[in-house]
Amino acid sequence: MKVSLSKIKKIIHQYDSDRRGALLPLLQDIQAVYGYVPKESVNLISKELSIYPVEIYGVLTFYTQFRLIPRGKHIIKVCHGTACHVMGGKDILDYLMKSLEISEGKTTSDGMFTLERAACLGCCGMAPVVVVDDNFYSRCTIRQVGKLLHKYRSKKV
């Protein structure tokens, strides 16, 4: 998606009051539109809210939610809560890293998948949990996950 400064400006102007406290929500809104926080928006926010860009980058890099580069078509999140770990979540993550040939947080070279490790998703009774985009897959096995990749690759989902 092309980055439009006027669109970002509109988002910024939704937040008039308590301007400093607005920083996080408006970064979240921008990310909801683009999937990441484009560089151009940082300079714009800096001007509009009178916050130094360095402070905005500080916030962006502190919170794991924010991304500075675009992500793949499908986002695979492997839950890494305690229950999922005990039930084999780490093995699933390792398997995915090997079969997608990427490390966690990275995107495959064809732009198909981004692999992420999620903090506990709160479905501990259904561990281990893998989330692809917004679909939850519970009580996963390595074999199932392998099939899942195939399904997404062949656009059957």
Partner: protein, 584 residues
């Protein structure tokens, strides 16, 4: 409406396919021309993981509970049960379900799974917002006094007296005061706050309004994790409904009280569960804690007096007002009153949310509602309490009663109430490493002990699990852990060494086996596994062959399995599948 159909539609219900079940129910009821007689209620999760749970309530038969419902089961239920009054027995919830709920005393969770969280009338019908009406007839001081007398202590982990916190904030000087609901439930393994927000959001909102009245605050924030989209959505709806009914806004219920709530979404930082970091995050900064005192009750959000309460704490408030402090303090032990919700998970038969009176022992909880171990052949090893700040408790301490003091004495903390049961196939060194990995990642980096000390501890644990452990590592871990505990700035750092220190204390043998014999007895640490089939143990069943995702195992009927190491990706699927521990 004569017939009620309750479908659990919290995050876990939906991930198990509850939405499809609901739509099939609607279609079937339309088909049978029953749709006008039936009411479908979309409830939150009731805390037991049974995929999709459906309750059918008819005037003749009362409540019948069905578990593991799939869309294909729906026509049968509609046909047999709703149309002809004959419940489908094979789909009915069994003994496990009964056992799970039998030992519980549900106060906070009383509405979860019973009402439609998106419908304020459902909440009001169960005495909702009645506590608020009662409170408005009292003086704010009386409300504070009532909560103080009840003995309610913060359910977020530290266990500070809620009434005292309110009083400190009430007496503090400030231009404005704030109430903050801490819904940044970041502990891996805890999900009670999510379930309460998804299943009964109004109870939290009511608690916040009462807190606002007692303290003298007009403005409140709910700081909720972004990882909980459904909870956020339901909160938004609930707040809008409460505003419409004049429970929020100016002159609430024609009184002088004005109060409003705003939702702030977290951005994925565990440390923001710490109150001073949470304040920094709401103010739009990096979520970094600051030293206390001054405490937030005097110097909090925007430098004004602020009360920060956890979701579960606030959900208790209305019950205390309705039934009285005396009733509340009659439940629990001398120092810990009321109930506590635990998120029971791991290798236990029934996983889910369990609410028990304080003073119940850990054993009663695991073998009562929990139903014992998931796989009876593999014995119990340990239970982890309190998430990354907590500790691992061995079998011999299972009779420890659940109250703030006893659990601290055992080396763990109550924390937010995560309870992960681990069996003989869980490696304690690996678990310690897991938690440290988490806290290292989440450390904000402000103070040296936490930023560098934890990292060094993690490196040592990595060496141990990879077979490069040294004798002196054990003393190093103990010394470093104690030093971090005593010197870190905030709660995250102070408690982060707990998982390592408790496993060292109770499971030293396992550390020794890793270091001295280079063996992981539970066969978890990949680098210490040879991936060979032990012919003395192999029963030639072929289970390993069936689960291998890469076809690295050769097996034919009545022959020993053989692992082809060139193909093997060491995913351990075979190890987990083998019931005979035949893979070394």
């Amino acid at each position: 409406m004569e017939i009620k159909i309750l479908i659990c539609m919290g995050t876990s219900g939906i991930s198990a396919g509850a939405e499809k079940v609901e739509s099939v129910f609607r279609k079937q009821l339309k088909l049978q021309k029953l749709i006008d007689k039936c009411q479908i209620v979309k409830t939150g999760d009731r805390g037991l993981f049974r995929d999709v749970l459906v309750d059918v309530i008819t005037p003749e038969l009362g409540r019948i509970i069905y578990e593991y419902i799939k869309p294909v089961n729906v026509p049968e239920i509609v046909q047999k049960h709703i149309l002809h009054g004959r419940p489908v027995q094979k789909l009915q919830a069994g003994k496990d379900y009964e056992q799970f709920f039998a030992g519980q005393n549900r106060i906070v969770l009383s509405n979860c799974g019973q009402i439609d969280p998106e419908n304020i009338d459902d909440y009001i019908a169960g005495d909702g917002y009645k506590a608020l009406k009662d409170v408005l007839a009292l003086a704010p001081e009386q409300v504070v006094e009532e909560i103080k007398e009840s003995g309610l202590r913060g359910r977020g982990g530290a266990g500070f007296s809620t009434g005292l916190k309110w009083e400190l904030c009430r007496n503090a000087q400030g231009r404005e005061k704030y109430i903050v609901c801490n819904a940044d439930e970041g502990d891996p393994g805890a999900f009670m706050d999510r379930s309460v927000l998804e299943g009964d959001p109004h109870s939290v909102i009511e608690g916040m309004i009462i807190a606002g009245y007692a303290v003298g605050a007009c403005k409140a924030y709910i700081y909720c994790r972004a990882e909980y989209p459904l909870a956020l959505e339901r909160l938004k709806k609930a707040i809008a409904q409460a505003r419409k009914r004049a429970f929020l806004g100016e002159h609430i219920l024609d009184s002088n009280l004005s109060f409003d709530i705003e939702i702030k979404q977290g951005a994925g930082a565990f440390v923001c569960g710490e109150e001073t970091a949470l304040i920094a995050s709401i103010e739009g900064h990096r979520g970094i804690p600051r030293p206390r005192p001054p405490f937030p009750t005097r110097h909090g959000l925007w430098c004004e007096p602020t009360v920060i309460n956890n979701v579960e704490t606030l959900a208790n408030i209305r019950h205390i007002i309705l039934k009285g402090a005396e009733w509340f303090s009659s439940v629990g032990t001398d120092t810990s009153k009321g109930t506590k919700v635990f998120a029971l998970a791991g290798k236990v038969r029934n996983t889910g949310l369990v609410e028990v009176p304080m003073g119940t022992t850990i054993r009663e909880l695991i073998y009562g509602p929990g139903g014992g171990m998931a796989n009876k052949k593999i014995g119990f090893k340990s239970v982890q309490l309190g998430g990354p700040s907590g500790g691992c408790i061995p079998e011999r301490l299972l009779d420890t009663p659940i109250d703030y003091e006893s659990i601290n004495k055992a080396g763990a903390i109550m924390g937010s109430g995560g309870m992960i049961v681990m069996d003989q196939r869980t490696c304690m060194v690996d678990i310690a490493k897991f938690f440290l990995d988490f806290t290292v990642e989440e450390s904000c980096g402000k103070c040296v002990p936490c930023r560098i000390g934890l990292k060094r501890m993690l490196e040592v644990l990595e060496e141990i699990t990879e077979g490069a452990g040294l004798q002196e590592h054990i003393t190093f871990l103990e010394e470093m852990g104690t030093a971090i505990k005593n010197t870190a700035l905030c709660g995250l750092g102070n408690t982060a060494p707990n998982p390592v220190l408790t496993t060292l204390k109770y499971f030293l043998d396992e550390y020794r086996a890793h270091i001295e014999n280079k063996v992981c007895l539970s066969r978890v640490c990949t680098k210490l596994i040879k991936f060979e089939v032990d012919k003395d143990r192999c029963v030639k069943c072929g289970q390993c062959y069936n689960v291998c995702p890469v076809g690295a195992i050769d097996w034919n009927k009545k022959e020993y399995a053989k692992i082809n190491n060139a193909k093997c990706v060491k995913c351990k699927a075979c190890l987990n599948a083998c019931e005979f521990m035949a893979i070394q």
